[in-house]
Amino acid sequence: MRLVAERLSARRGEDLIFRDISFEIGPGEALVVKGPNGSGKSTLLRVVAGLLPREAGKVALAGEGAQAFETVASACHYLGHRNAMKRELTVEENLHFWKAFAGDSHGGAGVAIDAAAEAVGLGGIVHLPFGYLSAGQQRRMAMAKLLVAWRPIWILDEPTAALDAAAETMFAGLVNAHLSQGGLALAATHQPLGLGAAQELHMAGFAGVSVEAWA
């Protein structure tokens, strides 16, 4: 299955954030979006995830298995700046909820909760309330969320921003394992993620042009 974006444009308020972005990601491939602050990396990712309306262009799935998904969003995991975990619940309850609520989509199966926690290097503390963990641990548990329910496409927005070097290596391992299973990844980052073969997309920061309706 392939993720194809053609001539995407998006705006926030009156400002056009980017225009005419096209890319294509195949099975086992990763695309790393780079660019300075404010160049629209996060916006691009949210547009692809269907969380923001696009101004023009289209995002679609193509190839084998694409029919199994109603929307592009339902084939994606989105790891944003916020962890989407409840402080009051234990890590296990959080992960269990996402495993049950999201469910596995076509073409793969999620791992068990303990195994996912083990994979992010935090096995044995799943019984703790999520709020007890440190910021870095919380981030890693949020990554475990990607593992408990299978999605072919991972959309990662600054995934390793709050993490130390060891955790970055761990996360690169997770992404590479996902790619080797035929998954796709789309990541926005400042830091090198340490992915094997990854395409790069440089966003220049689209300045100066806004929609002329009020100009």
């Binding site: 503390i125 007890y132 440190s134 870095g136 641990q137």
Partner: protein, 256 residues
């Protein structure tokens, strides 16, 4: 603050609850046994005493109602004393005491309200009157529930303790105000209410069971309070250990 005094405070913070746990472990079975004994004697006396010629059987409700009402107020006094302990001496056990007394006090107030209502129906013909004493007890009940809700709403127990200690003391000042204002307000509308709580207690026939039951209820309160405090201490210990576990798991990973 110097490092040494900080260490001393840390130590006393840790040692006092531990000592309390050790001491209370010895004391509470005895207290429970004595409580049971008093209840056995008290209940026996309750049902052996003859009924009042005016009130008939219903006078027996008094043996539950009056001790519960008495405890609803005593429990608040215990909480107020604990609140002082929290604010003035910053004793770690004081806020544990205040926090755990609230649900117990709410339960006794609830018993007082229910039995009062069940006594009121045959005596006055209505379940409830907005009369001075009843209203102030109901307000007390709401305050207990509010304090429980406050304790649950704040994450950090130390902060919750300080805030609720302030509220407890404000409430302590408030209770007589409510009581007197309501009395004044009440006389405007309903001058003569029909309470005769103090009537039957004069007769020793009723006094003895009442006294024994009052002691039994008081002992029950203290037993339950001690046990609830033990639970709360364990709860905080679990929380501390969990934080410790979370931290050490992080370090373990980083050094690996």
């Amino acid at each position: 603050m110097s490092e040494q005094s900080l260490a001393i405070r840390k130590f006393s913070d840790l040692a006092n609850p531990t000592r309390f746990l050790a001491l209370s472990a010895i004391v509470w079975p005895w207290m429970a046994a004595i409580t049971a004994l008093f209840f056995a004697v008290g209940l026996y006396l309750c049902f052996m005493s003859v009924g009042d010629y005016q009130q008939g059987e219903t006078v027996r409700i008094m043996y539950v109602h009056v001790p519960a009402a008495w405890l609803s107020m005593m429990c608040y006094s215990v909480m107020a004393a604990s609140a002082l302990g929290t604010l003035v001496w910053r004793h770690p056990l004081a806020d544990v005491s205040a926090k755990t007394a609230a649900p117990i006090g709410a339960c006794f107030t609830f018993i007082a309200l229910i039995t009062g209502s069940l006594w009121g129906k045959p005596m006055w013909g209505t379940w409830w009157v907005w009369d001075a004493r009843l209203t102030s007890v109901f307000v007390l009940f709401l305050m207990y529930l509010g304090l429980i809700a406050l304790n649950r709403a704040v994450d950090d127990p130390a902060r919750a303790a300080k805030v609720s200690a302030i509220l407890i003391l404000v409430g302590f000042v408030n209770i007589p105000i409510i009581k007197f204002s309501v009395e004044w307000w009440n006389t405007l509308h309903q001058p003569a209410s029909v309470i005769r709580l103090d009537g039957p207690t004069i007769d020793p026939e009723f006094l003895w069971p009442l006294l024994v039951m009052a002691i039994a209820f008081t002992l029950l309160f203290f037993t339950l309070h001690i046990l609830a405090m033990r639970n709360e201490i364990l709860r905080r210990r679990v929380a501390t250990l969990r934080r410790l576990a979370a931290r050490s798991a992080g370090y373990g990973e980083a050094s690996r």
